[in-house]
Amino acid sequence: VSPGPLEGVRVVELASFVFVPMAGAILAEWGADVIKVEDPETGDPMRALKVTGQAGSKVVPAANFQLMNRGKRSVGISAGSPEGREVLYRLVESADVFTTNLLPSSRRKLEIDVEHIRRRNPQIVYAKGSGLGFTGAEHARRGFDFATYWSRGGIAASFHEANPSPEYPPRQVGAFGDFPAGAVLASGIAAALAGRALTGDPSVVDVSLLSLAAWQVSAGLVGADGRRRRLILETEDGRYLALVLPTDDDGVARVCADIGAASAAELEVAVSRRPLEEWRSVLRDVGWVWEPVQTVDQLTEDPQLLANEYVRPLEGADGMYAISGPVQFGGQPPVLTAGPKEAGSETDEVLLELGYTWDELIELKINGSIL
């Protein structure tokens, strides 16, 4: 396995919950050395959170925590104390990237805003994940993906409109917005690192739950409507085919001929005449695009998912699995390694690397600045 392209990059993460920690997990997957800073008293609250997946499944909190904290080391630092903050600054001096999800008021209070961090490391890429963006009257407002991305961001309403249900819009649970937002923040950080390598100038990188929602529904915002050509049709055995009708009449005629329908209006009836397995062989080599609709159970067994190794056992965490980001390098899946078992698991190791002596560490532990 070749090292990832971000080999040699150090990231310091002062972030909790899902969105910004997921950026750190992706950067680690891409080869970076990611150091998660956790409060010695509380740790990342995510360590205790039970998260429910869309399908109602729940993994144990320790396994869930690994989904967005795999591949990192954890250092316990009390960033609120002057001695602790100095340790954090020393760490920042050794880093290429700083990531945070703290609100502007907390960043100022802890003196970890861009100005303070850049004072100790002028070349650092400073990356923020927010709910509602970097400017505007509500930019300092707290956000969560269910409210900010799914609801305010127009996804729930689009979903409800596409799927008229007499009752409420469908819920979003299970970090559905946070996961991609984190991967997109990692993407912006990679671009900033490339920019710094090419020009010498670092950037401040911003991604918000609102900006991701806007991008994701942007085809709707600009008035594109492809829904009529996208069909979900039931098979004889209660499964479904998803197919895309071509834009030209000849293409539609080919789809109808392959399925055995006299016209597009009769596709539904024609599809209902055979079970899915028959359709798989009948439609195996057609030139138009279709797939069976799958459940999560079926997805997890999908030969393409297995062949591409998107789901991998976590090395160093027995029985746990993680899902890599969708990007792979060099035609190989990344190795996914376990993240910190506890807040501050690697405090000593990381700070000794930085040049602290045991005596200094003991002093800092006694006064509660580090864990």
């Binding site: 392209p5 971000l6 080999e7 040699g8 039970k50 997946g53 869309q54 109602g56 499944s57 729940k58 993994v59 396994a63 869930n64 963006g133 970097f134 407002r141 969560f144 269910f146 409210a147 900010t148 609801s151 305010r152 729930a156 249900s165 970090a175 991609p180 997109v184 993407s187 912006g188 690192l193 490339a194 390598a197 020009t199 401040v204 990188v205 918000s208 900006s211 994701q216 085809a219 915002l221 594109a224 829904r227 998803a242 069976p292 799958q294 459940t295 999560v296 997805l299 998912l305 062949a307 591409n308 998107y310 789901v311 746990m320 899902i323 980001g325 969708p326 990007v327 060099g330 035609g331």
Partner: protein, 380 residues
């Protein structure tokens, strides 16, 4: 001011939204993106063409002819990145496989956006986000589980719903590869797929499924309402949708217990916070059906606009469920300049709080002469 990828040249050969959107983002980020238009006929016009082909130049060439192949070879030689949605077999047919391009004199980053990933028996199967991400990737049935009134797999809310986030991630992977190339001198092949995004998007469920019972806390019907519209089985009534008096919806997203008294006070139901049924997190979980009904009654008292005034400045999170028409008028959407032009929406990443400039989507072959002249000049 230019973006972080200024000075980087990308050659894009694509037919679908996924790779086109990737090229658009790389252009926003400062790269010189040259779209290779194969067809002699114009691209399908429409809103998506101007949205996903902004900030590119177009060179028309047909790689199946000797003359076109020569143009492509010159473009490849001058590029840092080759971006395509060709499947491995289709690329090989055009002599544009990674091995073929590696023979040129420049270490090029080869980036592929595919439906089902670069390996496996179906690696050459084509697809878009509706088929590979939404249907095969498990999204259509997953959202069906959240609402018992949905009796069949759900429709994808808007076109591009999976392709566009996948594009942002592929663009990031390309940037990471460019960083790695500066550091080591070596290019890599970068792959991203719509099926991979689906698994990543549903990571909580997929990880639980993969790990099996030992890692699962509950694998019951949690989160699955027992009857249409039944939201009362939810574990947390404070992370829930409520209907307002005018038939609109509010999303309450208040995880922390300390917010409960303020929620009750703001809703004009201060007594609820001292009600023993709701006094602790555990009690609220046990009596979530009753709490949902209490809050249903409270939210029904006022319109969405009235609630927006009542709830201004809360420390706990709530938001209205907005339509796309409302989203474009949203103060935060406007202030962050998320609409760059009538038919161009901003990418999700901002650098130094700058708004990228937008040059309109090129006509097919609009820049053929210009780009070829540049290559000529650089080569001489």
């Amino acid at each position: 001011v230019a973006g972080p990828l200024t000075g980087t040249r990308v050659l894009e050969l694509s037919s679908g939204d996924f790779a086109a959107a990737t090229g658009a983002l790389l252009g926003d980020w400062g790269a010189d993106v040259i779209k290779l238009d194969r067809a002699v006929e114009p691209r399908p016009e429409g809103a998506l063409d101007s949205h996903l082909n902004r900030n590119k130049r177009s060179v028309a060439a047909d790689p199946t002819t000797a003359e076109g192949a020569d143009v492509v070879r010159r473009l490849v030689t001058a590029a840092d990145v080759f971006l395509t949605d060709l499947t491995p077999a289709a690329a090989a047919e055009l002599d544009l496989a990674p091995e073929s391009l590696a023979a040129y004199n420049r270490p090029i980053v080869y980036a592929r956006g595919t439906a089902l990933g670069p390996r496996g028996p179906e690696r050459d199967r084509r697809g878009d986000d509706f088929t590979a991400y939404w249907a095969r990737g498990g999204l259509a049935t997953t959202f069906q589980l959240a609402d018992a009134s949905l009796v069949r797999p759900t429709e994808q809310p808007v076109p591009g719903f999976g392709a566009l986030p996948a594009a942002a991630m592929l663009a990031g992977g390309i940037a990471a590869a460019l960083y790695g190339r500066v550091r080591t001198g070596e290019p890599v092949v970068v792959d991203a797929s719509l099926l991979g995004l689906a698994a990543f998007n549903l990571a909580t469920d997929v990880a639980a499924e993969a790990a099996g019972p030992a890692m699962q806390m509950v694998r019951a019907d949690l989160g699955r309402p027992s009857s249409p519209g039944d939201r009362t089985a939810l574990a947390n009534a404070l992370v829930c949708f409520y209907r307002t008096g005018d038939g609109r919806f509010i999303c309450v997203n208040a995880y922390q217990d300390r917010f409960f008294p303020d929620i009750c006070a703001r809703l004009g139901r201060p007594h609820l916070s001292s009600d023993p049924r709701f006094a602790t997190h555990h009690a609220r979980e046990e009596h979530s059906a009753e709490l949902v009904r209490e809050l249903d009654a409270a939210f029904a008292q006022r319109s969405l606009a009235e609630w927006a005034r009542e709830l201004v400045g809360t420390e706990w999170v709530w938001e209205p469920i907005q339509t796309l028409e409302e989203l474009v008028e949203d103060g935060q959407f406007v202030a962050n300049r998320l609409l760059l032009d009538r038919t161009v929406v901003s990418g999700p990443v901002h650098f130094d709080q700058r708004v990228p400039t937008v040059s309109p989507a090129p006509m097919v072959g609009q820049h053929t002469a210009e780009v070829l002249a540049e290559l000529e000049e650089a080569g001489s």
